[in-house]
């Protein structure tokens, strides 16, 4: 007993010593980061598929003095970035920002370096203007430097179109589905040939697409709620129409992966990067798919940015690395490696993009996407936009599962969106 008590004391002392040294090292490291101006190494945060891994590796050898350390962050990227910036320690020198997060991060522009002060404004002409604007604050500070964009298209099963007696070549199909009504008629014809198949996975995707095709969203530039106006109502009505016509598969979960593979879905509407989801979900259908211009005109879904947090120890070098990773040459590599659709139009003419895609039967998909990319409408996306839009999507998926009246669902969605807007400080 005597020995065990002494032993315990020793362990206790060790523990205390450990705690003290831990505290001392913590103090030491915090004082060095705050006082020293020389940086030992730069860090880059991105998520899997957010940048081309090959380009990132090349950047490490390209800038040996920067001693670039890269880190792939899994899970909720925004959450981890925001927490780290708020804590103020171990903040990356360069970080990715996802397309859906940029609008809600812009109000905190003071936590990031205005890239225009580092000379980004001289590079602006190389990138798509609407994308550049997305990464800028209303007073012209550039926070997010464009990585990729998400121009949209209609993916379709060529074999199913052929059996339904529809045209099969992308140009003809694109003309056929130029309007939403034209698209829905295609659905009716598909269902004659394939009674168990549907045109589209759910009506939320139609609503999202139509809102993205407009120049106004849910909140206007003077911070007013406009989600009850005609442009949203039209998108809603068109989406609901697909359901009443019976061309909607009403799939709101991961089972669309099976639906893609087994011919339940004849088409999908989505961004260029959605091609990767299709080939992942249904590799056996390779060669049967084609892509045509989207019903209703061009829109953008997703596409990310790189930013430099204020806490960066060496923003100048960080900016050099950032612009190198995202220059038009490397954007071509990003397209080949990670299906990142370039945000620099000069890249569209490079061989990496003009070669055919085997999943699409050798189709040169850039022919469909690049004319769209340059015509994407510029819409103001308020910080609270995603939050305010949520009730509409919930209501649409609710309509698909219950026999609720569409007008009542609209009224509920609008009143909920108004409340969320109010909570988020929108007038």
């Amino acid at each position: 007993m005597e020995i065990s008590r002494r032993r315990m004391l020793q362990v206790g002392m060790l523990g205390m010593a450990g705690a003290t040294t831990g505290a001392l090292t913590a103090c030491g490291s915090s004082s060095t980061t705050s006082s020293s101006t020389k940086s030992e190494s730069l860090s880059l945060w991105y998520w899997g598929g957010g940048l081309s891994d090959k380009v990132v590796e090349a950047a490490i050898t390209q800038f040996p003095n920067a001693k670039l350390k890269t880190q792939k962050i899994d899970g909720d990227f925004r959450q981890k970035l925001v927490t780290t910036i708020a804590a103020g320690k171990f903040v990356p020198d360069i970080t990715g920002i996802k397309g859906e997060d940029i609008a809600s991060i812009l109000p905190n522009a003071n936590k990031f370096v205005d890239l225009n002060t580092l000379g980004a404004d001289k590079l602006a002409s190389q990138y798509l203007p609407w994308k550049w604007k997305q990464g800028s604050t209303s007073d012209g500070k550039l926070i997010g430097f464009p990585i990729d964009i998400g121009p949209t298209g209609m993916f379709y099963r060529k074999d199913m179109f052929a059996k339904a007696g529809l045209p099969t070549e992308p140009a003809e199909v694109g003309a056929l589905v130029a309007t939403w009504d034209g698209y829905f008629e295609v659905g009716a014809k598909i269902q004659k040939a394939y009674p168990k198949s549907f045109l589209i996975n759910n009506i939320g995707s139609i609503f999202q697409m139509i809102v993205g095709q407009g120049t106004k969203r849910f909140i206007d530039e003077s911070n007013h709620f406009i989600g009850d106006q005609d442009h949203i109502r039209t998108a809603w009505d068109t989406a609901v129409k697909a359901m009443t016509l019976g061309v909607d598969a009403k799939i709101n979960d991961e089972s669309w992966k099976q639906a893609i593979g087994n011919g339940t879905l004849a088409t999908e509407i989505g961004a260029a990067w959605h091609a990767l989801d299709l080939s992942d979900a249904a590799p056996d259908t390779a060669g049967k798919w084609r892509v045509a211009a989207n019903p209703g005109g061009p829109a953008n879904i997703g596409g990310s940015f790189l930013a430099i947090p204020k806490a960066s120890t060496d923003p100048k070098t960080a900016f050099q690395i950032l612009t190198w990773i995202l220059d038009p040459q490397n954007q071509a590599k990003g397209f080949t490696d990670a299906a990142l659709f370039p945000s620099s139009p000069a890249t569209y003419k490079m061989p990496a993009l003009t070669s055919g895609d085997a999943f699409f039967g050798g189709q040169v998909t850039i022919d469909v996407f690049s004319p769209q990319a340059e015509k994407i409408p510029i819409a103001y996306e308020a910080p609270a936009d995603a939050a305010v839009s949520a009730p509409y999507f919930s209501a649409l998926s609710g309509l698909e599962t219950s026999a609720k009246n569409a007008d009542a669902a609209w009224a509920d969605a609008v009143s909920q969106a108004k409340q969320i807007a109010q909570r988020q400080g929108v007038s």
Partner: protein
Amino acid sequence: MPAAPRGGTRARPGRIRRIWSFWPQYLAIAPFFVIFGVFMLGPVLFSLYLAFHRWDGLGDIQYVGLQQFRFLVKDPTFWLSLKNTLIIWVLSTVPMLLLALVLAAMLNAALRLSSFYRLAYFVPNVTSLVAISIFFFAVFSQFGLVNAVMHGLHLPLIGWLSNTWAIKIVIALLMSWQWTGYNAIIYLAGLQAIPTDLYEAAKIDGAGPIQIFWRITIPLLRPVILFTVVISTVTGMQSFTEPQILFGSNASINPNSGGPGQAGLTMILYFYHQAFDVHDYGYGAAIAWSAFLVILVFAVINWRIVARHED
């Protein structure tokens, strides 16, 4: 007047010395309290502070008084989430505890392989909830195993993950599957603590097995049942991971909204959605504290109901 402080100063060094003499013991229990304080108590108090503020996680924290709670009372989605939580809780807890009791009685009677059975029933509880949810998703999805069997039996197919009620049943099933074994093990421990001479005496007096179960087993098991009911209330009403994984959806639009028609939106999932998807930490904190109050009320009600029978 000067006498009182002098008396105080005289007493204090003695007390401090006495406390100091126990320093190894205090040191030994310190890690728990330090970790609890930093990772539990601190965030809990901060969330209470946040419930009266507006914060997007990065910018300035703005005091708004009771406004978040005023929003909450008028928010139909919150009431929907409360309704969903209660339905899922009843659907899972009632069959789960009854089944656990039956299992425990069977385990108690098992003569062979008893530790194997005990282990087997406890395995679901230590299995990763994410893995279970993914498995359940595969089984219940539109083209999953359950619908394949129903198709084979010429039964009408059910959209297990799209029908408002089916969604709740699937979540409740998942929770029951995970927690039945745990509760059965707890009941088993309670059963084994009942002295055998009571059973022997009852048998001699001519009581049948059913009578023995209702007159001896259940009354003596009451404290254990009380424990499982309260624990099931607290865990069951905090269901989050199950609907989050089942209906998380990899879409960037409207994530974690609880599936079609928001039928799987529980209180904790709604809190998570508001705080981490919508970046409204103040409102999220207000939902979390309201959920705490609701759970507290139900835990107390359950405790009163089960405990009352004791007199």
